[in-house]
Amino acid sequence: MEEKTPVVEMRSIRKEFLDVVANKDIDFKLYPGEVCALLGENGAGKTTLMNILFGYYANDGGEIFIRGEKVELSSPKDAILKGIGMIHQHFTLVPSQTVLENIIIGAESEKGFFLDLNRARERVLELEDRFGLKVDPDAKVWTLSVGEQQRVEILKALYREVDILIMDEPTAVLAPKEVEDLFSTLKSLVASGKSIVFISHKLHEVIEISDRIVVLRNGEVVAERKTKDTNTKELANLMVGREVLERLKKKKAKVGEPVLRVEGLTVLNDKGLEAVKGISLTVHEREVVGIAGVSGNGQTELVEAIFGIRDYVSGTISVRERSLKMGKPAERVEVGIGRIPEDRIETGLLMDLTIKENLILENHTSPEFSRNGLLNHARINDFSDRLIREFSIKASGRETITKSLSGGNLQKVILARELSGKPGVIIASQPTRGLDVGAMEYIHNKILEEKDRGAAVLLISEDLDEIFDLSDRIIVMYEGRLMGEASAESASREKIGLWMSGVAK
């Protein structure tokens, strides 16, 4: 494959932000008809490099060649015209508009003054058929599942007839079945001659789908491997620069008193339908209860109800016999619930504030940090520096504006804040989504540490490995109900998998 001329060649690409060098003279090639995986720790510079190729970021140094020809990409429009499409880490769709509208907006093929929806629909359906991307073109985007939304993103790129497709962590939010579907789409794309850059932190996926793997660390290329010549263990080491344990040692502990109790909880979703249907569950001291299930089966609503940010129709939630009121998130802080929300950007962090401010968000009024209504900055600074160190948050300092952090580091800020108060209950929703193996290992260890300290942990995850690694008890949620429950020792992946797809046994 190496003999062919690359479709994309990036030469000594450099990108500096205010205080970090995100790309240090990176060389990167993409060959026609291949899937090249880009691996690297959180903040290694993967997204930045691809944003440069997509014309979204301007590079500070280096050159880009597309099919051998030197190009200046000063906007995504230029990149699209050169046949480059990108699916971003966070979706770029307009929820209130239809699939079709989202797809055709701004496309070069759309001539004339008036929208020609019928012609566009035909073309979209044709693409859907060809690449196995099923989604209703006339549905409003907000009614779609995450997997469907991603298909819209892919269709959006294909509609522009790109032949280079960049996918930034496309599987981070997908359920296992959806990942399978995506992979078969990717295979048919490659078969039709397209080249794909695939970014993921899930090593087995990378092994499964890619032909070649490029590893970045701290803004530099540290290794390149043919996929068939490597394995997950080597990749993990290359990424992090040290040994990574593939399996955790979970200590068996005697479970203590019941702490978090949910009884007969029924919650509506945004569309007004019952998303959680009379669920009851209990989490004890020194216990991790894992809720497995494909997302969209009521997990989000359950978590939001427990967090106090979504009202419920009936049922009770209590922590150590104290029942919690609806719509009172402050009460959750008071009784010591550490909350790690699924959506970091929407509910976890204030993106325009500094890291330091985000770290003291929940306890800035405590006597430790304020006196007579004035913030004690010396204390706060010490506290922030300590957490940034302890949780190895990669940032130039406590005063960094949060939105400049990479995805994984955003999650670490939340964890640092939530765990710093030594909460009695921890509710972690998809805590390692989008994290690199090193960070994941770190967070898993943290969660187990918290459990050993005595915390009651409710873990919601789509990642079965994570569920099995951490949980003492596993519960499966399907269509708003509990499909089944098993202790970690007695549960088999097959049984859990069946429950997740709604088959009771």
Binding site: Q89, I105, F114
Partner: protein, 316 residues
């Protein structure tokens, strides 16, 4: 007195007044809808309308051409919108501050230019205003015809503009771009839509509507320029945008409702109730607030409204 309300002449008169009073609000509301759909709140609307009113009046006064006056009012509206675009789109300043600044600037400038030309006359100068035009046949419909279909040309144009703006927004490529830029500028950028250009063009188109809305006040509704001739109609239009849920048709209905209330209170005053007339003046505004409370809770604001857009900031 009460009986008079049910007389035919009263109803005809009220219908006519409704249409007249609604016209400037329809123009301004449509203009603001285009602008806000692209993600920019233009609080310069009140000042822009006043500049439109002044420009229309002055140009007509010196050239004798009403239509040329209207045209120049539109041009001045566009220029002020360009200023707004420079501040709020290209420099990324707060839309609130920029808009209010433009209203203050427009108000001061209108006053200044007027004084420069006319000094402080005891009797304000007047122009020969637009005449009402009866639409053949339609204006002969009993009761309704005379009220609705004998109007100024500008009023008819405002009606035509309602579907025109709706079609523009919902059925054309430009409209789709405007809406996406207003909802998710990052998404628009990643598909190659020029966010700032789209916002600027929307502002400029909206500014033209606001200018014409202002000109209607000095060239048709009245025949002179007074400093309070706009009298908060710009702000009312902002409210109508919310009332109409950013939809041209519903926004225009809101404008008609306001026109009706405004016309109604004028008529009531004319009937000679012995209540301070300020109370009547309050009615349309008060009812607008009440309507807003009930409607705006369900409103879906364009998600990108008020947010300046710059690259190199993480999207999402």
């Amino acid at each position: 007195m009460i009986r008079q309300i049910f007389e035919i002449s009263f109803i005809t008169g009220l219908l006519g007044a409704t249409m007249r009073m609604a016209t400037p609000i329809i123009f301004a509301t449509l203009g603001e809808i285009i602008t806000e759909r692209a993600g920019v709140l233009n609080l310069g609307i009140e000042g822009t309308m006043l500049m439109g009113a002044m420009t229309g009046f002055l140009v007509t006064m010196s050239t004798g051409s009403l239509w040329f006056g209207v045209l120049m009012a539109a041009v001045v509206g566009m220029l002020l919108a360009l200023l707004m675009a420079f501040l709020a789109v290209y420099l990324g300043l707060s839309q609130h501050v920029s808009g209010l600044g433009i209203t203050l600037f427009g108000t001061g400038l209108a006053m200044f230019i007027y004084r420069l030309h006319f000094g402080s006359p005891t009797v304000p100068p007047t122009v020969q205003p637009f005449k009402e035009v009866a639409i053949p046949l339609l204006s002969k419909i009993p009761i309704l015809g005379e009220g609705i279909f004998v109007q100024y040309s500008l009023t008819y144009i405002s009606w035509i503009m309602i579907p025109v703006v709706a079609i523009l927004l919902y059925k054309t490529h430009i409209g789709l771009k405007i809406r996406v830029v207003g909802e998710n500028p990052f998404a628009a950028d990643t598909v190659g839509v020029n966010v700032n250009l789209t916002r600027t063009l929307s502002l400029v188109a909206g500014g033209a509507f606001m200018g014409v809305g202002g000109a209607f006040l000095t060239l048709a509704h009245q025949n002179m320029f007074l400093i309070d001739v706009v009298g908060g109609r710009g702000w009312v239009s902002i409210a109508m945008v919310i009332f109409g849920n950013w939809d041209p048709l519903k926004g225009a209905l809101g404008a008609l409702l306001f026109g009706f209330l405004d016309g109604f209170q004028l008529r009531l005053q004319a009937l000679g109730f012995h209540i301070p007339f300020h109370l009547f003046l309050m009615i349309p505004y008060l009812l607008t607030i009440i309507a807003l409370i009930s409607v705006s809770r369900r409103a879906v604001i364009p998600a990108g409204l008020l947010k300046p857009y710059r690259r190199e900031e993480k999207g999402g």
